[in-house]
Amino acid sequence: MNTGDSKQRKLLWGSVAVVALVVIATLIDKGSIGLQLILSGLTVGSIYALVAMGFSIIYSSTRVINFAQGGFSMLGGMLMYSLAVSGKLPMWLAFILAVLIVTALGAGFERVVIRPMKDHSVITVIIVTIGLSIFMTAVAKWIWGTDPVKIASFSGDKPLRLFGASLVPQSLWVFGLTLVAVALVFLFFNRTLLGKGMRAAADNPDAASLVGVSSSTSSLVAWTLAAGLGAAAGVVIAPINFAQYSAGTALGLKGFSAAVLGGLGSAPGAVVGGLVLGVLETITAGYLPSGYKDAVAFVILILVLLVRPQGLLGRPEEVKV
């Protein structure tokens, strides 16, 4: 333990305190309007959290930043539309099929493109995932056209009232999925051999393969999980957000900032990052001209990178010489 560590710890608790203060101040200042802002912020935030988890999963196992993560969510939403609305399948069946299809795509991409490139430089892999993102957006446009599509909310649209603020029922589905996902992912990476091995494989591939988890398996499982989670997120979000061929990019950017804020490589971190980002953004829109709302995500991103790159809940990375 040296002074660097305790400075970092002070920073961590300091930022937690700041966020808490902002939230409390808003509640006091604006009363139930403030509560509305926070509830909306949590809804938007959990959407970010789901996408952020996908980033974290891939990064923690392979040190790759997958720019196409938002695209998995977009495809999940669009497939759900095709299956449930056009194809008239029952919602639960459409959900499962949509997630399975995207998961297969994610796994396929990993095997065919990512795996052969494992020794290439960071920037090459970044470009490849960007290429995938462009490809997915273009194919989506080819298949579904440019219009946004509507999927019925899972349990209706009647708003729920809470102390003068309101919430749509679909938000509860989003919260629910977020909780389930973070619990499952956390258990997987911290309590199963495969999961722990995958985290190890990113830092020390040789040791990990001794335990039976090669970096090849690690990469495949990570991409599969991230694609599946991304698709599930996309399906659950679609009734609120309207699925659209271009939805991947915006979601990806915000989800990414959330992942960095929470700590790339930490699933609970992704959730914390997403929620904090969503709330801060919405509160900003409540006070400042709303055009600056988007800047919040990026300012936070840069501050985090400069001051505490491992994010709120991540562990500092070691630079290999």
Binding site: I33, V149, S166, V168, N241, A247, G286, S290, G291
Partner: protein, 393 residues
């Protein structure tokens, strides 16, 4: 090894070969289908991909339909017509490059485009310096204010839509205080600014002016701010899907004030997306959306009826106002070419003298000072009732 032997020469030679090859591939130009010299070529730069694609694609459909109909009958004074359509990908730089290519390489007599304001503004300097008439399908005020010799437009302008909205606010709703919520893009911001500037003269105070990002999906923050003001109506200025999200948010928050939208939601998509929240929403639009609002038997009504029937038969979907903009642009140019042929200067002056031409968007009257052609009476206010459009009285 080769690299070591020749150093940097090899990549350089490769670069030059690459450049030469791509130049010859691109430079060979399009082989025109009809080798006859008498085909009238009209260029069109539309947004067929990117954010403005929902505008450009129907415009392209309409132009192709016009081309087929003209060529199946007498054409333009016996000459066949060909619309050479390029995609600007909703990107101003590509639009400028495309118009340069169509004018210089294809030698088109007149130009159409683009679908959105930004791309059109990038094309204007090229049209002006090459002295080729450009009829655009975009509604941004800056395009024809001040009027530029070679630039005309077909859609009703944003200004006209704003005037119509103000008419409705003062005449029908009779409100004195409004809030504005607009998309942060050029369309939304331009509309909001103009509305805010014109409102006081009509006795309306703007008590809130908020914006949202084009890709945002939750506007409850802005709406809660607006709820705290004494606004009696909310004017939403943006294109899908933002306004649909706003309608749903308003329903969620239990906001009862009237939602007055822009012509950006003059399409069925808004109703599909907003669901039950769309009911009660009012917006300005071209009368073609409810043909019964146009006097029966008039040239305009006949043109609209034929157009909507043909479009539905050919493409299987309902024609929207964007298809109308594209058709009108083609119609105006081909009508002018009946007397002007391919003489570029004559095309410009003939179009400028157009009077009483019944298009789909309305009756066009151009002059030296008016390159917009339409006026507020070509628009109507539409109200959504039970998921369908009705005239808002």
């Amino acid at each position: 090894m080769l690299l070591k032997k020749h150093g940097w020469k090899l990549p350089m030679i490769l670069l030059c070969t690459l450049v030469a090859v791509s130049l010859s591939v691109v430079g060979c130009g399009k082989q025109t289908v009809d080798a006859s010299k008498s085909v009238y070529k009209i260029g069109a730069v539309l947004s067929l991909s990117g954010p403005a694609a929902p505008l450009g694609l129907p415009e392209q459909n309409a132009l192709l339909m016009l081309q087929d109909q003209l060529n199946a009958s007498t054409g333009v004074n016996g000459h066949k017509v060909q619309f050479l359509i390029e995609d600007d990908e909703s990107n101003p730089a590509k639009a400028a490059a495309a118009i340069a290519k169509l004018i210089n390489q294809e030698g088109v007599a007149a130009m159409i485009g683009s679908s959105s304001t930004g791309a059109t503004l990038a094309m204007v300097p090229v049209a002006m310096s090459s002295q080729v008439t450009l009829v655009c399908c975009a509604a941004g005020t800056a395009i024809t204010k001040p009027p530029k010799k070679y630039v005309f437009r077909t859609p009703p302008t944003d200004s006209m839509a704003i005037d119509k909205v103000l008419q409705y606010l003062t005449g029908t709703l009779k409100v004195q205080k409004i809030a504005i919520l607009h998309d942060a893009n050029a369309f939304g911001t331009g509309g909001a600014d103009e509305l805010a500037a014109k409102a006081p003269a009509k006795g309306i105070t703007v008590v809130a002016n908020e914006s949202y990002g084009s890709t945002d999906t939750d506007m409850t923050a802005q709406l809660t701010k607006i709820q705290q003001t004494p606004a009696q109506a909310l004017v939403v200025w943006g294109t899908n899907p933002g306004p649909a999200s706003i309608a749903k948010n308003m329903q969620q928050l239990g906001m009862k004030i009237p939602f007055v939208g822009s012509h950006g939601i003059a399409n069925k998509t808004f109703i599909t997306l907003a669901g039950t929240a769309a009911n009660g929403v009012v917006f300005p639009a071209g009368k073609m959306l409810i043909p019964s609002s146009i006097p029966a038997g008039s040239a305009w009504r006949n043109a609209v009826d034929k157009f909507t029937a043909d479009y539905k038969a050919k493409y299987g979907k309902d024609a929207d106002t964007f298809a109308g903009h594209g058709w009108d642009a083609g119609l105006i140019i081909t009508t002018a070419m009946k007397t002007a042929g391919t003489d570029k200067a004559l095309i410009q002056s003939t179009i400028q003298k157009t009077k009483g031409l019944a298009g789909i968007d309305g009756i066009f009257n151009y002059s030296a000072t008016d390159h917009d052609g339409l006026n507020t009476s070509d628009l109507m206010m539409i109200k959504i009732v039970n998921g369908a459009w009705t005239e808002a009285k």
